[in-house]
Amino acid sequence: MIEWIESVLGLTIQVGTVYLLASLGEIYAERSGVLNLGLEGIMVMGAALSFIFTLAYGHLVAILVSVVTGILMSLILAVMAVYMRLNQTVTGLALTMLGLGLSGFLASPEVRKVMLLALNPLLPESLLAIQEAPKLPEIHVPLLSGIPIIGCFFRQNVLVYVSYIAAPLMWFILFKTRPGLSLRSVGENPAAADAMGINVFRVRCVATMISGGFAGLAGAYLFLGFQPFWREGLTAGKGFIALSLVILSTWNPLRAILGAYLFGGVEVIQYRLQLFGLGALSPYLLTMLPYLVAIAALVAVSIESVRKRIGVPASLGIPYSREE
């Protein structure tokens, strides 16, 4: 039984980490009032680049490149949506399209080959054509990994540990530090923040870039940390599931952990349920679940009293301008 729990839980963590990483950044963007709908596109770019760069330079460089690319892509959104005050929804969708197209293009065999050779001329030819990269190794934390049940938390790869640290850290920054306070205020009432001398545009820009960085990281994890086999459009809507997770977690990084593992758990357990003869549970309904739950959560948080209590970013999606 313990073994079973460890196996399911360990896998749940692996699956959930994608959603966790992506939603952590998105929480920051949305808390500052920017809806980053480019999440999906940034994630898939992160995955594509981590594939190419792992082959050329190894994991560390690949992860860095994914993060930096995520930041740069979200900078496009930040400039267009925050400074130019263009519609965030439309801009975000455009970014998703761009990411899906560009990633498919860069990772297509011909371009990839040229790119790999340029990056590292010493690469053996056999590497130029393959679709996989080495997976991130599991790191067993001494002592902790030996504890029954809990142990499975400590037999994971490095990015999972990053997410363990990032989630509480992001929570702490958001709720217990000055930059976090500024960020939340900007998303709630930019005029108030502006009056207290906070640069609303800069805060929103930085928050959007944070979301891009995490989305890039999530993409890198999805590829390197879970199933290191490249295919076009690898994310398959995971960015949008992360968006619904952000709502479900009511924009709170700690609750996002629970939500991410819940989503991950459902995905893992459904295959076990099939094997218990409970296959009758419609897979379509199960896949719909995150979206339906998110809509329900949206309805719940739009009730005025709930909204105030939870601190739903009141100016989400509304560009700020100082009007005379």
Partner: protein, 368 residues
Amino acid sequence: MSLKIETRFGRIRVERRVGYGRLYSISMTLLSLALAFLVVALILASLGLDPVKAFQVIFGVFMKPSLLLESIKQSIPICLAALGLSIAFKMNFWNIGAEGQIYMGMIASTGIVLLHAYYGFFHEWMVMPLMFLASFLLGGAWCLIPGALKARLGVNEILPTLMLNYVAILIVDFLVHGPWRDPKGYGFPLSIPFPEYTKLNIVLGEPAYTGLLFSILGAAAVFFLLEYTKLGFEIKVVGQSPAVARYAGIRVRSTILLGSFLAGGLAGIGGLSIVSGIIGRLRPGASPGYGYTAIIVAALAGLNPWVTVAVSIFFGGLITAGGALQMSMGIPKAAAQMIQAVIFLMILVGEFIKRYRIVIERPGASER
């Protein structure tokens, strides 16, 4: 009266441009389009491909009757959905759920066909009108969900419309894998083929002509709605300012409900045009993101229904041309998608340039 908004980035100030004319607006749109093509040309050139040849291929699509016809066929669902979106966007209702509404339209029209085919309900001549009605109603109802959430509970429509896309797609998956599977289809996930009299080929027996007719009729209807009906006027007022609308005695809630219903309904008919005009049965993934393309089209057309028809045919052409490029120049499909995104982003930036002008402030000098 002019609004002036001051933003700081460095010493550059951004001012809202006031009272620009139509000519200016059109020329700016064309300019940003030209800019987009320039960027695309640069990308192609940097890949060692000849941009001139690429553009010859793209515009060649519109010169050849067979390809033009095909482009028009592709444009129909996009056009109808974009027409619906222009109603929604006029109302300041950011419906990004046209994709889901298209799928619901497909479900509804297939449902009618199946009722007829399996149970013999209705006469043959009634099937087609009923398909129209049903796809309009179901597409509308699907958009009415976020509409009602917004009108009744003040829920922002962006995320619900997006999420309902996935729900609709999964409902189609469920239906064609399960209850609606063609019993003679060797178990493949698709419905029975639509009978001949449910096909969209009323005009000259060609779906493209028939669809073009519907696109034009749809544009006329939307134009008429927005310009000559009370509801259209109300939709526009609500879109400009709900507060003013309330002041003018307009029922804001029911306007949002009706407006979102119409928007979804048109997308629903777009769904019908796919199953009935292009594919001929229901199957998973029947709409390859037309609902999202429609957003670009509506934005590019400036929410003008007539321009929407032209722009969607242009996009239909791009879809066709994307393939032509791939064959004649070896550009991967993903690159074609990337090019579309670049055009989209450039047009957005053009929209910004249209509405604002950037004033570079000399240090110390006072304005004007």
